[in-house]
Protein backbone atom coordinates (compact mmCIF):
# COMPACT_ATOMS: atom_id res chain seq x y z
CA UNK A 1 0.00 0.00 0.00
CA UNK A 2 3.07 2.21 -0.09
CA UNK A 3 2.97 2.96 -3.83
CA UNK A 4 5.64 4.80 -5.75
CA UNK A 5 7.59 6.98 -3.34
CA UNK A 6 4.85 6.38 -0.85
CA UNK A 7 2.20 8.12 -2.92
CA UNK A 8 -0.38 5.46 -2.14
CA UNK A 9 0.30 5.67 1.56
CA UNK A 10 -0.19 9.41 1.39
CA UNK A 11 -3.61 9.12 -0.18
CA UNK A 12 -4.57 6.27 2.14
CA UNK A 13 -3.79 8.39 5.11
CA UNK A 14 -6.32 10.90 3.93
CA UNK A 15 -8.94 8.59 2.56
CA UNK A 16 -8.62 5.36 4.47
CA UNK A 17 -7.00 6.18 7.76
CA UNK A 18 -8.44 3.12 9.45
CA UNK A 19 -6.70 0.94 6.95
CA UNK A 20 -3.38 2.61 7.66
CA UNK A 21 -3.97 2.10 11.35
CA UNK A 22 -4.75 -1.59 10.91
CA UNK A 23 -1.70 -2.15 8.75
CA UNK A 24 0.61 -0.38 11.15
CA UNK A 25 -0.73 -2.53 13.96
CA UNK A 26 0.03 -5.65 11.98
CA UNK A 27 3.55 -4.41 11.42
CA UNK A 28 5.13 -2.56 8.53
CA UNK A 29 7.31 -4.68 6.28
CA UNK A 30 10.96 -4.12 7.14
CA UNK A 31 11.89 -3.05 3.63
CA UNK A 32 9.23 -0.35 3.63
CA UNK A 33 9.53 0.73 7.22
CA UNK A 34 11.99 3.57 6.65
CA UNK A 35 9.90 5.27 4.00
CA UNK A 36 6.67 4.59 5.86
CA UNK A 37 8.00 6.13 9.06
CA UNK A 38 9.36 9.09 7.15
CA UNK A 39 5.89 9.75 5.82
CA UNK A 40 3.82 8.77 8.84
CA UNK A 41 5.93 10.80 11.24
CA UNK A 42 5.17 13.85 9.16
CA UNK A 43 8.86 14.15 8.40
CA UNK A 44 8.45 14.23 4.68
CA UNK A 45 5.76 16.90 4.76
CA UNK A 46 7.84 19.00 7.12
CA UNK A 47 10.85 18.65 4.86
CA UNK A 48 8.86 19.70 1.82
CA UNK A 49 7.31 22.70 3.56
CA UNK A 50 10.63 23.80 4.92
CA UNK A 51 12.14 23.48 1.48
CA UNK A 52 9.59 25.89 0.09
CA UNK A 53 10.62 28.39 2.71
CA UNK A 54 14.23 27.92 1.77
CA UNK A 55 15.11 26.05 4.92
CA UNK A 56 16.99 22.90 4.23
CA UNK A 57 18.86 20.46 6.37
CA UNK A 58 22.29 21.38 5.08
CA UNK A 59 21.71 25.03 5.91
CA UNK A 60 20.39 24.23 9.38
CA UNK A 61 23.35 22.02 10.04
CA UNK A 62 25.75 24.66 8.82
CA UNK A 63 24.19 27.25 11.06
CA UNK A 64 24.52 24.88 13.98
CA UNK A 65 28.26 24.55 13.65
CA UNK A 66 30.05 26.10 16.56
CA UNK A 67 26.90 27.74 17.81
CA UNK A 68 26.34 26.25 21.21
CA UNK A 69 29.36 24.76 22.84
CA UNK A 70 27.73 23.37 25.96
CA UNK A 71 25.07 21.59 24.03
CA UNK A 72 27.68 20.34 21.59
CA UNK A 73 29.74 18.83 24.36
CA UNK A 74 26.70 17.18 25.90
CA UNK A 75 25.87 15.62 22.55
CA UNK A 76 29.39 14.40 22.02
CA UNK A 77 29.50 12.82 25.43
CA UNK A 78 26.39 10.87 24.66
CA UNK A 79 27.39 9.54 21.26
CA UNK A 80 29.35 6.74 22.80
CA UNK A 81 26.59 6.05 25.25
CA UNK A 82 23.77 5.60 22.78
CA UNK A 83 23.30 1.99 21.74
CA UNK A 84 26.91 1.27 22.74
CA UNK A 85 26.60 -2.31 21.58
CA UNK A 86 24.90 -1.64 18.25
CA UNK A 87 27.23 -2.13 15.32
CA UNK A 88 26.15 1.00 13.52
CA UNK A 89 26.76 3.24 16.53
CA UNK A 90 29.64 1.44 18.14
CA UNK A 91 32.57 3.20 16.55
CA UNK A 92 33.72 6.56 17.66
CA UNK A 93 33.71 8.71 14.56
CA UNK A 94 31.93 5.94 12.73
CA UNK A 95 29.15 6.69 10.30
CA UNK A 96 26.39 6.16 12.79
CA UNK A 97 27.84 8.36 15.48
CA UNK A 98 28.61 11.11 13.00
CA UNK A 99 25.07 11.17 11.64
CA UNK A 100 23.69 11.11 15.16
CA UNK A 101 25.93 13.98 16.12
CA UNK A 102 24.89 16.03 13.10
CA UNK A 103 21.19 15.57 13.65
CA UNK A 104 21.26 16.38 17.33
CA UNK A 105 23.39 19.43 16.70
CA UNK A 106 21.14 20.57 13.89
CA UNK A 107 18.05 20.05 16.01
CA UNK A 108 19.40 21.99 18.95
CA UNK A 109 19.95 24.94 16.67
CA UNK A 110 16.63 24.46 14.87
CA UNK A 111 14.77 24.40 18.18
CA UNK A 112 17.06 26.32 20.55
CA UNK A 113 14.50 26.44 23.34
CA UNK A 114 14.86 22.72 23.75
CA UNK A 115 18.43 22.28 22.61
CA UNK A 116 19.76 18.86 23.40
CA UNK A 117 18.36 16.72 26.20
CA UNK A 118 19.31 13.17 27.00
CA UNK A 119 16.86 10.67 25.68
CA UNK A 120 16.66 12.34 22.29
CA UNK A 121 19.71 10.54 21.00
CA UNK A 122 18.00 7.19 21.39
CA UNK A 123 15.02 8.26 19.35
CA UNK A 124 17.17 9.72 16.62
CA UNK A 125 19.32 6.60 16.57
CA UNK A 126 16.32 4.35 15.97
CA UNK A 127 15.23 6.57 13.10
CA UNK A 128 18.74 6.56 11.68
CA UNK A 129 18.77 2.82 11.44
CA UNK A 130 15.83 3.09 9.07
CA UNK A 131 16.49 6.16 6.95
CA UNK A 132 19.14 8.58 5.87
CA UNK A 133 20.40 11.46 7.94
CA UNK A 134 18.27 14.16 6.39
CA UNK A 135 15.10 12.10 6.56
CA UNK A 136 15.82 11.18 10.14
CA UNK A 137 16.28 14.83 11.03
CA UNK A 138 12.92 15.83 9.61
CA UNK A 139 11.14 12.82 11.02
CA UNK A 140 12.52 13.58 14.44
CA UNK A 141 11.64 17.26 14.16
CA UNK A 142 8.14 16.38 13.13
CA UNK A 143 7.64 13.91 15.96
CA UNK A 144 8.90 16.55 18.36
CA UNK A 145 6.14 18.82 17.14
CA UNK A 146 3.56 16.09 17.31
CA UNK A 147 3.45 15.87 13.56
CA UNK A 148 1.84 12.47 13.29
CA UNK A 149 -1.14 12.29 11.11
CA UNK A 150 -3.26 10.82 13.82
CA UNK A 151 -5.96 13.39 13.50
CA UNK A 152 -6.99 11.84 10.25
CA UNK A 153 -8.46 9.13 12.42
CA UNK A 154 -10.93 11.37 14.15
CA UNK A 155 -12.27 14.66 12.88
CA UNK A 156 -12.81 15.83 16.43
CA UNK A 157 -9.17 15.48 17.28
CA UNK A 158 -8.30 17.32 14.12
CA UNK A 159 -10.51 20.19 15.06
CA UNK A 160 -9.08 20.52 18.52
CA UNK A 161 -5.58 20.19 17.17
CA UNK A 162 -6.00 23.30 15.12
CA UNK A 163 -6.19 25.44 18.21
CA UNK A 164 -3.49 26.46 20.53
CA UNK A 165 -0.91 24.01 19.39
CA UNK A 166 1.14 26.39 17.37
CA UNK A 167 2.39 28.75 20.04
CA UNK A 168 4.90 26.42 21.56
CA UNK A 169 6.50 24.93 18.51
CA UNK A 170 9.76 26.28 17.16
CA UNK A 171 9.52 29.81 15.97
CA UNK A 172 9.70 28.94 12.31
CA UNK A 173 6.54 29.53 10.41
CA UNK A 174 7.06 26.37 8.45
CA UNK A 175 6.56 24.48 11.62
CA UNK A 176 3.22 26.09 12.15
CA UNK A 177 2.18 25.35 8.65
CA UNK A 178 3.20 21.79 9.09
CA UNK A 179 1.07 21.61 12.19
CA UNK A 180 -1.95 22.70 10.28
CA UNK A 181 -1.08 20.68 7.25
CA UNK A 182 -0.86 17.47 9.16
CA UNK A 183 -3.88 18.57 11.16
CA UNK A 184 -2.80 16.28 13.96
CA UNK A 185 -0.50 17.53 16.60
CA UNK A 186 -2.47 18.30 19.68
CA UNK A 187 0.18 19.41 22.09
CA UNK A 188 -0.24 16.29 24.10
CA UNK A 189 1.41 14.17 21.47
CA UNK A 190 4.24 16.54 20.63
CA UNK A 191 7.24 14.68 21.91
CA UNK A 192 8.83 18.02 22.62
CA UNK A 193 7.12 18.21 26.00
CA UNK A 194 9.26 15.30 27.17
CA UNK A 195 12.29 17.55 26.93
CA UNK A 196 11.24 21.13 27.54
CA UNK A 197 11.85 22.75 30.90
CA UNK A 198 10.23 20.83 33.71
CA UNK A 199 9.42 18.04 31.26
CA UNK A 200 5.66 18.61 31.32
CA UNK A 201 4.76 15.74 29.02
CA UNK A 202 6.90 13.32 30.98
CA UNK A 203 5.25 14.43 34.22
CA UNK A 204 1.85 14.06 32.64
CA UNK A 205 2.70 10.63 31.26
CA UNK A 206 3.93 9.39 34.61
CA UNK A 207 0.79 10.68 36.27
CA UNK A 208 -1.39 9.00 33.67
CA UNK A 209 0.63 5.84 34.07
CA UNK A 210 0.03 5.75 37.79
CA UNK A 211 -3.69 6.12 37.22
CA UNK A 212 -3.78 3.43 34.57
CA UNK A 213 -1.84 1.02 36.73
CA UNK A 214 -4.15 1.65 39.66
CA UNK A 215 -7.22 0.85 37.63
CA UNK A 216 -5.75 -2.04 35.67
CA UNK A 217 -3.64 -3.72 38.33
CA UNK A 218 -4.72 -2.24 41.66
CA UNK A 219 -2.90 -4.79 43.77
CA UNK A 220 0.39 -4.23 42.04
CA UNK A 221 -0.05 -0.47 42.07
CA UNK A 222 -0.63 -0.60 45.81
CA UNK A 223 2.37 -2.83 46.33
CA UNK A 224 4.69 -0.55 44.37
CA UNK A 225 3.40 2.42 46.28
CA UNK A 226 3.88 0.89 49.70
CA UNK A 227 7.37 -0.16 48.69
CA UNK A 228 8.12 3.44 47.80
CA UNK A 229 8.64 2.79 44.13
CA UNK A 230 7.60 5.87 42.22
CA UNK A 231 7.00 5.37 38.50
CA UNK A 232 9.59 8.01 37.69
CA UNK A 233 12.22 5.59 38.90
CA UNK A 234 11.58 2.99 36.27
CA UNK A 235 9.22 4.62 33.80
CA UNK A 236 11.08 7.75 32.77
CA UNK A 237 12.85 6.21 29.83
CA UNK A 238 9.83 4.20 28.74
CA UNK A 239 8.22 7.47 27.87
CA UNK A 240 11.01 9.81 26.89
CA UNK A 241 12.74 7.33 24.63
CA UNK A 242 9.57 5.50 23.55
CA UNK A 243 11.09 2.26 24.82
CA UNK A 244 14.17 2.58 22.63
CA UNK A 245 16.37 2.73 25.71
CA UNK A 246 15.40 -0.73 26.79
CA UNK A 247 13.46 -2.99 24.46
CA UNK A 248 14.99 -5.29 21.86
CA UNK A 249 14.83 -3.96 18.33
CA UNK A 250 12.37 -6.48 16.93
CA UNK A 251 9.82 -5.54 19.54
CA UNK A 252 10.69 -1.89 19.44
CA UNK A 253 10.06 -1.34 15.74
CA UNK A 254 6.63 -2.88 15.99
CA UNK A 255 5.77 -0.53 18.83
CA UNK A 256 7.03 2.36 16.77
CA UNK A 257 4.97 1.31 13.76
CA UNK A 258 1.92 1.89 15.91
CA UNK A 259 3.38 4.96 17.56
CA UNK A 260 3.82 6.66 14.19
CA UNK A 261 0.11 6.40 13.53
CA UNK A 262 -1.51 6.44 16.96
CA UNK A 263 0.93 8.29 19.15
CA UNK A 264 2.03 7.67 22.71
CA UNK A 265 -0.95 5.50 23.68
CA UNK A 266 0.94 2.44 22.56
CA UNK A 267 3.70 3.08 25.09
CA UNK A 268 1.17 2.88 27.92
CA UNK A 269 -0.33 -0.26 26.47
CA UNK A 270 2.99 -2.03 26.14
CA UNK A 271 4.04 -0.96 29.61
CA UNK A 272 0.79 -2.28 31.04
CA UNK A 273 1.27 -5.54 29.20
CA UNK A 274 4.72 -5.96 30.70
CA UNK A 275 3.32 -5.29 34.17
CA UNK A 276 0.43 -7.69 33.72
CA UNK A 277 2.77 -10.37 32.53
CA UNK A 278 5.00 -9.99 35.55
CA UNK A 279 2.51 -8.95 38.18
CA UNK A 280 2.72 -12.03 40.36
CA UNK A 281 6.49 -12.00 40.23
CA UNK A 282 6.64 -8.31 41.09
CA UNK A 283 4.26 -8.72 44.01
CA UNK A 284 6.78 -10.96 45.70
CA UNK A 285 9.59 -8.41 45.64
CA UNK A 286 10.46 -5.71 48.10
CA UNK A 287 11.89 -2.35 47.08
CA UNK A 288 15.42 -3.43 46.18
CA UNK A 289 14.26 -6.44 44.21
CA UNK A 290 11.65 -4.39 42.40
CA UNK A 291 14.17 -1.78 41.35
CA UNK A 292 16.39 -4.52 40.09
CA UNK A 293 13.73 -6.34 38.09
CA UNK A 294 12.36 -3.13 36.65
CA UNK A 295 15.74 -1.57 36.00
CA UNK A 296 16.56 -0.48 32.50
CA UNK A 297 19.02 -3.31 31.98
CA UNK A 298 16.37 -5.90 32.62
CA UNK A 299 13.25 -4.58 30.98
CA UNK A 300 13.83 -6.90 28.05
CA UNK A 301 13.52 -9.85 30.43
CA UNK A 302 10.04 -8.76 31.37
CA UNK A 303 9.04 -9.80 27.88
CA UNK A 304 9.68 -13.40 28.72
CA UNK A 305 9.11 -15.45 25.64
CA UNK A 306 6.65 -13.01 24.12
CA UNK A 307 7.22 -12.48 20.41
CA UNK A 308 6.77 -9.03 18.89
CA UNK A 309 3.43 -10.19 17.51
CA UNK A 310 2.21 -11.51 20.81
CA UNK A 311 3.32 -8.36 22.58
CA UNK A 312 1.41 -6.16 20.16
CA UNK A 313 -1.67 -8.33 20.27
CA UNK A 314 -1.78 -8.30 24.04
CA UNK A 315 -1.04 -4.61 24.24
CA UNK A 316 -3.67 -3.56 21.74
CA UNK A 317 -6.35 -5.42 23.68
CA UNK A 318 -6.02 -3.06 26.60
CA UNK A 319 -8.26 -0.04 26.18
CA UNK A 320 -6.55 3.08 27.44
CA UNK A 321 -7.88 6.08 25.54
CA UNK A 322 -10.64 7.20 27.84
CA UNK A 323 -8.63 6.58 30.97
CA UNK A 324 -5.71 8.52 29.56
CA UNK A 325 -8.03 11.34 28.71
CA UNK A 326 -9.58 11.36 32.17
CA UNK A 327 -6.23 11.35 33.89
CA UNK A 328 -5.03 14.02 31.50
CA UNK A 329 -7.84 16.32 32.54
CA UNK A 330 -7.23 15.58 36.17
CA UNK A 331 -3.58 16.50 35.72
CA UNK A 332 -4.47 19.66 33.89
CA UNK A 333 -6.66 20.94 36.68
CA UNK A 334 -4.11 19.81 39.24
CA UNK A 335 -1.39 21.82 37.52
CA UNK A 336 -3.65 24.82 37.16
CA UNK A 337 -4.65 24.75 40.79
CA UNK A 338 -1.12 24.38 42.05
CA UNK A 339 0.04 27.46 40.23
CA UNK A 340 0.67 30.30 42.63
Amino acid sequence: MLGVEGSTLMSYMEQKPMKVKRRARKGILPQFRGLAWFILSGGRALMANSGIEGQNYTAILQKATGRDKTSDEAIMRDLDRTFPTNLYFMDRQGKGQLALYNILRAYSSYDPKVGYVQGMSYIVAVLLVHMNEEQAFWSFSSLMQGGQLTAAMSPAAAASAGQGSSSKVPASSTANKQQQASAAAPEAIALRGMFTEGMPLLQLSLFQWQGLLESELPKLAFHLKTQGLDPSLFGTHWFNTLFSYTLPFHHLVRIWDVYMVEGIKIVFRVALTLMKLNASKLLAFRFEGLVDVLSSKKVARLLGSLSPNQLLQAALKIPVSSRLKGKGQEWKSFVQNSRP
Binding site: A74, Q118, L202, G228, Y245, F287, E288
Partner: protein
Amino acid sequence: MEEDFDRELKVLVVGNGGVGKTSMIRRFAKGIYTDEYKKTIGVDFLEKALFVDELQEEVRFMLWDTAGQEEFDAITRTYYRGAGAAVIAFSTTDRASFDAVAMWKSKVEAECGEIAVALVQNKVDLVDQAVVSATEVETLARKLGLKLYRTCVKEGINVTEVFVYLAELNQRKQQAAQPPVEMLPSKPKVLSAEPAENSITVDSGDNRAQTVDLAPSKKRTKGKKSLKDRMSSCSVA
Protein backbone atom coordinates in the same frame (compact mmCIF):
# COMPACT_ATOMS: atom_id res chain seq x y z
CA MET B 1 12.94 -14.48 61.29
CA GLU B 2 16.46 -13.44 60.70
CA GLU B 3 17.63 -10.60 62.77
CA ASP B 4 19.36 -8.04 60.76
CA PHE B 5 21.20 -5.17 62.23
CA ASP B 6 22.13 -3.70 58.92
CA ARG B 7 22.73 -0.09 58.92
CA GLU B 8 21.34 1.58 55.85
CA LEU B 9 22.85 4.58 54.18
CA LYS B 10 21.28 6.27 51.22
CA VAL B 11 24.01 7.72 49.04
CA LEU B 12 23.36 10.07 46.15
CA VAL B 13 25.85 10.19 43.35
CA VAL B 14 25.64 13.48 41.50
CA GLY B 15 27.72 15.45 39.04
CA ASN B 16 27.66 16.43 35.39
CA GLY B 17 26.94 13.92 32.67
CA GLY B 18 29.66 11.56 31.57
CA VAL B 19 31.95 11.90 34.57
CA GLY B 20 31.54 8.25 35.48
CA LYS B 21 28.79 8.15 38.08
CA THR B 22 27.21 4.95 36.81
CA SER B 23 30.59 3.29 36.37
CA MET B 24 31.59 4.27 39.89
CA ILE B 25 28.45 2.77 41.39
CA ARG B 26 28.80 -0.41 39.36
CA ARG B 27 32.44 -0.69 40.28
CA PHE B 28 31.69 -0.32 43.96
CA ALA B 29 28.57 -2.46 44.05
CA LYS B 30 29.53 -5.17 41.61
CA GLY B 31 33.25 -4.86 41.15
CA ILE B 32 32.91 -4.62 37.41
CA TYR B 33 33.73 -2.09 34.74
CA THR B 34 32.92 -1.81 31.08
CA ASP B 35 33.03 1.23 28.87
CA GLU B 36 29.74 0.32 27.31
CA TYR B 37 27.43 2.02 29.72
CA LYS B 38 24.43 3.78 28.44
CA LYS B 39 23.83 7.21 29.77
CA THR B 40 21.53 7.28 32.75
CA ILE B 41 18.11 8.58 31.94
CA GLY B 42 16.38 9.77 35.07
CA VAL B 43 17.49 7.76 38.08
CA ASP B 44 18.82 4.34 38.82
CA PHE B 45 19.44 2.39 41.97
CA LEU B 46 21.81 -0.29 43.23
CA GLU B 47 22.66 -1.55 46.65
CA LYS B 48 25.76 -2.94 48.25
CA ALA B 49 26.40 -4.38 51.66
CA LEU B 50 29.87 -3.90 53.03
CA PHE B 51 31.42 -4.52 56.39
CA VAL B 52 33.05 -1.27 57.41
CA ASP B 53 35.98 -2.00 59.70
CA GLU B 54 36.05 1.49 61.07
CA LEU B 55 32.48 1.16 62.26
CA GLN B 56 32.69 -2.51 63.10
CA GLU B 57 29.41 -2.86 61.37
CA GLU B 58 27.89 -3.90 58.12
CA VAL B 59 26.49 -1.02 56.16
CA ARG B 60 23.95 -1.38 53.42
CA PHE B 61 24.65 1.30 50.88
CA MET B 62 21.63 2.34 48.89
CA LEU B 63 23.23 3.91 45.87
CA TRP B 64 21.24 6.38 43.84
CA ASP B 65 22.51 7.14 40.40
CA THR B 66 21.18 10.32 38.84
CA ALA B 67 21.14 11.75 35.35
CA GLY B 68 23.76 14.46 35.10
CA GLN B 69 21.85 16.71 32.77
CA GLU B 70 20.21 19.61 34.50
CA GLU B 71 16.97 19.21 32.60
CA PHE B 72 16.36 16.06 34.58
CA ASP B 73 16.24 17.92 37.89
CA ALA B 74 12.49 17.76 37.67
CA ILE B 75 12.76 13.99 38.04
CA THR B 76 15.95 13.47 40.01
CA ARG B 77 15.33 15.97 42.80
CA THR B 78 12.61 13.85 44.37
CA TYR B 79 15.22 11.18 44.92
CA TYR B 80 17.43 13.46 46.98
CA ARG B 81 15.07 13.18 49.91
CA GLY B 82 16.29 11.13 52.82
CA ALA B 83 19.84 10.80 51.61
CA GLY B 84 22.45 10.44 54.34
CA ALA B 85 25.43 11.01 52.10
CA ALA B 86 26.40 12.21 48.67
CA VAL B 87 29.22 11.88 46.21
CA ILE B 88 29.87 14.88 44.01
CA ALA B 89 31.82 13.64 41.04
CA PHE B 90 33.69 15.39 38.27
CA SER B 91 36.10 14.29 35.62
CA THR B 92 39.74 15.13 35.15
CA THR B 93 39.10 15.61 31.46
CA ASP B 94 35.96 17.75 31.63
CA ARG B 95 36.38 21.33 32.75
CA ALA B 96 32.66 22.07 32.89
CA SER B 97 32.12 19.17 35.26
CA PHE B 98 34.69 20.66 37.62
CA ASP B 99 33.17 24.12 37.37
CA ALA B 100 29.78 22.67 38.29
CA VAL B 101 30.90 21.15 41.59
CA ALA B 102 29.79 24.06 43.77
CA MET B 103 26.43 24.07 42.05
CA TRP B 104 25.94 20.37 42.77
CA LYS B 105 26.89 20.91 46.38
CA SER B 106 24.29 23.60 46.84
CA LYS B 107 21.68 21.43 45.15
CA VAL B 108 22.39 18.60 47.56
CA GLU B 109 22.35 20.97 50.52
CA ALA B 110 19.13 22.59 49.45
CA GLU B 111 17.35 19.25 49.44
CA CYS B 112 19.17 17.32 52.14
CA GLY B 113 20.79 19.80 54.47
CA GLU B 114 24.33 19.20 55.63
CA ILE B 115 24.76 15.54 54.97
CA ALA B 116 28.06 13.74 54.53
CA VAL B 117 29.56 14.70 51.19
CA ALA B 118 32.74 13.69 49.41
CA LEU B 119 34.29 15.24 46.35
CA VAL B 120 35.48 12.75 43.78
CA GLN B 121 37.81 13.48 40.92
CA ASN B 122 37.43 10.60 38.51
CA LYS B 123 39.49 9.48 35.53
CA VAL B 124 42.78 10.40 37.17
CA ASP B 125 44.47 7.92 34.89
CA LEU B 126 43.92 10.36 32.05
CA VAL B 127 46.39 12.92 33.38
CA ASP B 128 47.69 13.67 29.92
CA GLN B 129 44.24 14.96 29.01
CA ALA B 130 43.73 16.82 32.26
CA VAL B 131 41.99 20.17 32.08
CA VAL B 132 42.13 20.90 35.80
CA SER B 133 45.27 21.26 37.87
CA ALA B 134 45.88 19.42 41.10
CA THR B 135 46.18 22.70 42.97
CA GLU B 136 42.89 24.12 41.85
CA VAL B 137 41.10 20.93 42.74
CA GLU B 138 42.60 20.98 46.21
CA THR B 139 41.75 24.62 46.61
CA LEU B 140 38.15 23.99 45.68
CA ALA B 141 37.88 21.03 48.02
CA ARG B 142 39.18 23.16 50.88
CA LYS B 143 36.92 26.03 50.01
CA LEU B 144 33.86 23.79 50.00
CA GLY B 145 35.01 21.92 53.09
CA LEU B 146 34.94 18.57 51.33
CA LYS B 147 37.33 15.70 51.48
CA LEU B 148 38.77 14.98 48.06
CA TYR B 149 39.19 11.53 46.59
CA ARG B 150 41.01 10.93 43.34
CA THR B 151 39.66 7.83 41.73
CA CYS B 152 40.13 5.74 38.70
CA VAL B 153 36.92 3.82 38.42
CA LYS B 154 38.28 1.95 35.44
CA GLU B 155 41.05 0.40 37.53
CA GLY B 156 39.01 0.38 40.71
CA ILE B 157 41.36 2.73 42.49
CA ASN B 158 40.10 4.53 45.58
CA VAL B 159 36.45 3.76 44.90
CA THR B 160 35.49 1.74 47.97
CA GLU B 161 37.37 4.25 50.11
CA VAL B 162 34.94 6.97 49.12
CA PHE B 163 31.95 5.06 50.36
CA VAL B 164 33.62 3.89 53.54
CA TYR B 165 34.51 7.49 54.31
CA LEU B 166 30.92 8.55 53.72
CA ALA B 167 29.65 5.88 56.07
CA GLU B 168 32.01 7.07 58.77
CA LEU B 169 31.29 10.73 58.23
CA ASN B 170 27.59 10.05 58.22
CA GLN B 171 27.91 8.36 61.56
CA ARG B 172 30.00 11.12 63.02
CA LYS B 173 27.47 13.68 61.91
CA GLN B 174 24.66 11.71 63.44
CA GLN B 175 26.51 11.25 66.70
CA ALA B 176 27.34 14.91 66.84
CA ALA B 177 23.69 15.55 66.37
CA GLN B 178 22.69 12.91 68.88
CA PRO B 179 21.59 15.04 71.83
CA PRO B 180 19.88 17.83 70.00
CA VAL B 181 18.06 19.17 73.01
CA GLU B 182 16.50 22.08 71.29
CA MET B 183 15.58 21.64 67.71
CA LEU B 184 16.48 23.77 64.76
CA PRO B 185 16.27 26.25 63.01
CA SER B 186 19.41 27.88 64.39
CA LYS B 187 22.37 26.39 62.63
CA PRO B 188 24.26 24.23 65.08
CA LYS B 189 27.97 24.58 64.44
CA VAL B 190 28.84 21.16 65.78
CA LEU B 191 27.06 19.45 63.01
CA SER B 192 29.61 20.32 60.41
CA ALA B 193 32.17 17.94 61.71
CA GLU B 194 34.24 18.50 58.60
CA PRO B 195 36.54 21.51 58.27
CA ALA B 196 33.93 24.13 58.71
CA GLU B 197 36.09 27.23 58.97
CA ASN B 198 36.67 27.39 55.29
CA SER B 199 33.42 26.13 54.06
CA ILE B 200 31.34 28.60 52.19
CA THR B 201 27.77 28.92 53.20
CA VAL B 202 25.53 28.14 50.36
CA ASP B 203 22.42 30.12 50.67
CA SER B 204 19.50 28.75 48.77
CA GLY B 205 17.56 31.90 49.37
CA ASP B 206 15.43 30.47 52.11
CA ASN B 207 16.17 28.52 55.22
CA ARG B 208 16.28 25.16 53.61
CA ALA B 209 20.02 25.06 53.18
CA GLN B 210 20.36 25.37 56.91
CA THR B 211 17.92 22.69 57.81
CA VAL B 212 19.76 19.69 59.00
CA ASP B 213 18.16 16.40 58.28
CA LEU B 214 18.76 14.18 61.24
CA ALA B 215 16.50 11.42 60.12
CA PRO B 216 18.00 8.08 59.31
CA SER B 217 18.85 7.63 55.71
CA LYS B 218 15.71 5.67 55.07
CA LYS B 219 12.47 5.37 56.84
CA ARG B 220 11.76 1.82 55.89
CA THR B 221 13.17 0.22 58.99
CA LYS B 222 9.87 -1.53 59.53
CA GLY B 223 9.88 -1.87 63.27
CA LYS B 224 13.54 -2.67 63.51
CA LYS B 225 15.43 -1.00 66.25
CA SER B 226 15.87 2.61 65.40
CA LEU B 227 19.10 3.62 63.81
CA LYS B 228 19.92 6.11 66.51
CA ASP B 229 19.67 3.47 69.22
CA ARG B 230 21.92 1.14 67.39
CA MET B 231 24.47 3.73 66.65
CA SER B 232 24.91 5.02 70.16
CA SER B 233 26.72 1.81 70.93
CA CYS B 234 29.26 2.30 68.16
CA SER B 235 32.46 4.12 68.56
CA VAL B 236 34.48 6.01 66.07
CA ALA B 237 37.97 4.75 65.59
